[in-house]
């Protein structure tokens, strides 16, 4: 179990580093798919099969296909290095070191408390998630539904080509 976790964690971290490091946007998108699949496998080992399937369907299936479509549609050049904003290097390095130190402290603190996995086999199947979703947490789910509707409308408004308002201009000239 530990060996599987180490392999999957290494795959996830390696693919994430590759995603950030690659200059070509298409390569980083493919690396990101690798991260998602490794995380989905980790969810399976954490007894969350529903979330694992949803991860592959939503992230690797829908979102990344959309991203790759946009990359191919825009026909991007390779990325340049940071030129104008040199201070961003220092900010980024400081942020990364700070977050890693925080992670290390969290690791040590949680290790001392030594929480063990609860033997609860029903938590995580689709039935218990559905029960929680439509009884106790109905309001957040409804809000997410409204958010999805707003996303549909917003994406259509963002991506359409605006027509020139000719009629208005004629009226203004007169």
């Amino acid at each position: 179990m530990t060996v599987i976790f180490i392999l999957l964690a290494g795959l996830a971290i390696g693919c994430a580093v590759s995603c950030v490091y690659q200059k070509n946007a298409l390569y980083s998108a493919i690396s990101l798919v690798g991260t998602f699949i490794a995380l989905a496998s980790i969810y399976l080992t954490l007894m969350a099969p529903f979330i694992a399937i949803a991860q592959i369907l939503v992230y690797a299936g829908a979102i990344m296909v959309l991203v790759i479509f946009v990359i191919l549609l825009l026909n991007l050049d390779e990325e340049y290095k940071l030129s104008r904003m040199r201070y961003l290097y220092y900010i980024g390095a400081l942020l990364g070191i700070g977050l890693l130190v925080q992670t290390f402290f969290i690791f040590n603190t949680v290790k001392k408390s030594s929480a063990t996995a609860v033997r609860n086999t029903t938590a995580g199947n689709a039935e218990s998630i559905g029960m929680a979703m439509y009884t106790e947490y109905l309001l957040p789910v409804e809000i997410v539904g409204i958010l999805l509707l707003m996303g549909i409308v917003g994406a259509m408004i963002m991506a359409r080509r605006l027509r020139e308002p000719k009629d208005l201009r004629v009226e203004e000239k007169e």
Partner: protein
């Protein structure tokens, strides 16, 4: 034997760090978008790990909600990127200074 909660939290923290550093270093708008996705996935991993170690389904429910928000973000964000590319012919975020001054 299963690794403890701290291993999953460490993996989540490392992935979040990679995503945050990527957001600062990338110039490409699509690269920024993918770094944000890495950060969202790191948070999802810690949700699922807590749900497993405390035997509660709520964490997994909120992972589902985070996924929906990420899908909405993908749709609207990529729409913004396409509109920006149409106006500027590039997706370099350093050049997005229309509202400066």
């Amino acid at each position: 034997m299963q690794p403890g909660l701290e291993s999953y939290l460490a993996l989540s923290g490392i992935l979040f760090t990679i995503g945050a550093v990527g957001v600062v270093f990338k110039r490409n708008a699509i690269g920024l978008f993918m770094s944000i996705e890495i950060m969202l996935n790191a948070v999802n991993l810690s949700f699922v790990a807590f749900a497993r170690f405390y035997g509660d389904t709520t964490g997994q429910l909120f992972v589902f909600i985070v996924m929906s928000v990420a899908a909405v973000e993908a749709a609207v964000g990529l729409g913004i990127i396409i509109t920006y590319f149409r106006n500027k012919s590039s997706v370099d975020v350093d050049e997005a200074s229309l509202m400066k001054n």
